[in-house]
Amino acid sequence: MPETTPQMVRLTIDGMTVKVPKGTLVIEAARRLGVMIPHFCYHPKLKPDANCRMCLVEVEKMPKLQTACSTPVDEGMSVRTATSVVNDAHRSVLEFILANHPLDCPVCDQGGKCDLQDFSHQYTATSRFVETKRIFQKEYFSPLIETQMNRCVQCLRCVRYCDEVMDVKALAPVGRGTMTEIKHFGVHPLNCEFCGGCVQICPVGAITSRLSMYEYRPWMLKRADTICGYCGDGCQMTVQTKEQELIEVNSAHGAGRNNGDLCARGFFGFHAASHPDRLTHPLIRRNGTLVQTTWEEALEYVAGRVSELQKLHGGESFGGLISGRCTNEELYVFQKFMRMAIGTNHIDSSARYGHVNGLHAMRLVQGTHRWTVTFDDILEADVLLLVGTNITQTNPITGLKVKEAVKKRRATLITIESLEPVMDTMSNIANLAHHHFRIPPSEMQNGILGLVKAIIEEHLIPEDITQRYPTYVTAVTTALQQLSWHDLSRATGIESDAFIQAAKVLAAGRRVIVLTGQVLLRSERGYTGSLTLLDLLILTGKLDQPGCGFAPLAEENNDQGAVEMGAVTEFLPGVFPVDDAANRERFMKQWNGKLPPTVGASLIDMLNRAKAGSLKAMFIVGENPVASLPASVRAEDSLRNLDFLVCQELFLTETAALAHVVLPAASSMEKTGTFTNTEGHVQTVRPSIDPIGESRPDWEVFAALFILLGMPMEYAESKDILKEIRSVISGYGLLGPTPLPPKVDRTVLDRYLAEGHHPDLATRYRLVAPHPRPDGTLQLEMAQSLFHSGKLSTRSKGLLQLEGGGRLRINPVDAARFALMDGDRVRLASTSGEMTTEIKIMERVPQGTAWFPDHFGQAAVGLFECAIDPRTHVPSFLTATVSMMKVA
């Protein structure tokens, strides 16, 4: 909430009066009146460059025509956009722009959505140009992006977007004058984040997508506005299809929480749904092999086996695991099915892999399960602290908000990241940081402790906090006393002064937001680290201040929804504890049945029970524990031990291959529903194609099973489920275009400050001893790559072209130490296993560390041990100490 209302200015445009905030550009003021001033180089996301000169208008008292895109309004200004002088000017500029244009509209993919075409039509522009047009040699640009520089109007929107918005700076206007050409570097193909921004922002057909080259004219396409299924940012995108074929994805300026920006996954990753390996029919295991069957037979078989096993072993012999990429409706029906139809609380979802760590911490300290801030608050923040986010790669669009806050709005950025601040082909958030603490993932906690210590020792705690919560402040102070700067500096390699400087910035900030991501949340200290970050906000007096808050980033697109829908063992829908008597009563009444009496088991616990034989059957929806969990967990053995395994999947994964029944599921491109993004915004998912083959949305499967098990539910469509969700969680997803975040619950906070902090405090304020790493070893990290996310990206042909397999990223210094070059093969070995892979040298990887991309990690998972957080039951397995050897 801006505290001062901006000063308003009144002006007239073509005789109409309009009042706009001071500093508004004439072109925007005109837009408010419905007056469209033609332009090429202007874009609301970019700083005005005024290079195309198309937007000339008359401004009273100014002798020359002015560019509406760069002229700010003034009180009493009078602008005219429709005089014959202005019209002639527009026409003449258009004539210049057309002079060197090849006019090859028939073979241009921009045809029908091209600004140049539209303006030419509007001004019935012709050109007197009879000279020779410039011709650029066609040069190879990239496998996914086509350039046709003869069409370029040199507005530089692509270049400016790449720099100003993305901070990637991969595009270069090369040469001077008419022969200026947009290139990458030298003769090299483009190598960048592949956000598709240049394709989207080019007003003409100079930069287009190769994935859809020559396939369509815009008017042939059907469009559906939906939400991207790749990560927790929840970007709105428009999927364009021709018959059943996925042609293109884009996102309109202003659309969704992403404001029209996308990342490579959103822009180029849409082909996963139409991958030829999609499951199209139900499969049933006969004589040891999976064979095709009908839905009727499959469902009846499932219902029959369920009844049998229920009778034999009771509902509690069942477990269920669901993916956080299902819709809220599916997650809701799933947990209701497991709890009410089967009678078990053994339920879990992919949120268990880390997201619940942040949520549990928020619940304990501030009584919310959602952020108390939104993306808009990130833009408005004056201090941002990022801890273990690797945000460019994991949550690229939240990353854009951070970049905008820092670059355009001058927020101060503090980062505790396992990143070397170097420039390379991808943006690196550490490059924008004013205070950067490079700390390995397993020791991130030490960085947080340094900041808390500095806050206390520099007396940066506000007076009223010390007075109101003396026990808490004393407890933290005492706990920190046993931690010396000497030890901390030795462990982190960072001097106390650096922490003090950053702490001062944090304390002085008015709108302070702490973002944390997978690198912390999925680690062994995901939960305690989150608590400590919340402590930091309390101690600086920020936690309950407007515009301040703690924001753990969700990995899967609907991890947040999974918890809110009750698809985790400890919570009922609405995040009510499953053992809370009042709510149990309420749900049993509303659901008209009995909830299982005992608290259930979470993911690893379920697998252990399966191995031990007490869990007999499982429903697994869209999850692949066999490949996701480290080999040491032995998920495969556990699942093989089950009497009955049902999988609902898009593809025959390692896990599905073990099932007794495999049901083909529809992807999010094929169904209706809602997703809840990382900031708690509930957004509508709409189908762009029909379900592939006989696949069905997961909720339909459970609705059918409900009937077969004798508990018919009235779900004719996904909307009916949402209606029911709203009846148990009032107002769910009714939040309008901008989500209203919850506020810190004072009573919960007071309880935390009085006694809630006790159990963890001593342990979490202890220094994390650096991993003793023998010489010749590296710390291996599973890291998320920008080009992959969720469980489908490796089936997308576009993304596979960008990154087709796993290569181990190491620092050049380490490469030199091990005498390795790009592409060399190495063998890695840990106490748990070994693997061979190729290496890729990357300067941003800190020395002594090696990253392996999560999505090609099947081979790598063997190297990791798994630790379970005793409070949140999160399995963590992202780091391992490995030795490395070159192999031939």
């Binding site: 270049v159 090369v174 570097f185 030298g186 420039m423």
Partner: protein, 180 residues
Amino acid sequence: MLKDKYGKEIEDILSRYPVKRSALIPLLYVAQRDQGYVTESAMQEIAALLRLTPPQVYETITFYTMFNLKPVGRFHLQVCKSLMCALVGSDTVLEWINAKLGIAPGETTADGLFSLSVVECLAACGTGPMMMINDDYYEQLTEDKLDRILSDLRSTGTSSLKTGPFMWPEPTPAERAREA
């Protein structure tokens, strides 16, 4: 690596500017001096030194005419063809060069000694026709002078006919006396 060879000079350059990127053109000159043109690896090294991306270096370098991205001859003849020099015969100078060296603008002699370019005004309009060879100006060119320059360059690598600190017209003794 430039850093190994010109470490001190590079540090010196960097120390002048409050914002690193300002050192880009000066560093490109260092690179060009080293190889006669700016190599791709030099661009990458300079990018890293200044915390720029290679495309940022590339876009800048290609805006300016004085950087070579490809090797040029040992002596780079750059003849001004702008109006003021053309009024006093720069086109003829190009013809002479073509006759003597067999190269047209954009070409290099087979022995790699001479490259020829035409350039726009070099601020020597009162003393045209003129050309620049590597770092030096040669003005008021005549055919005879050109012959001597070329033979000097061939034999000694430089020529005394190059212009020193510029002043034109040189004052007459009477004028000097008056000022003294």
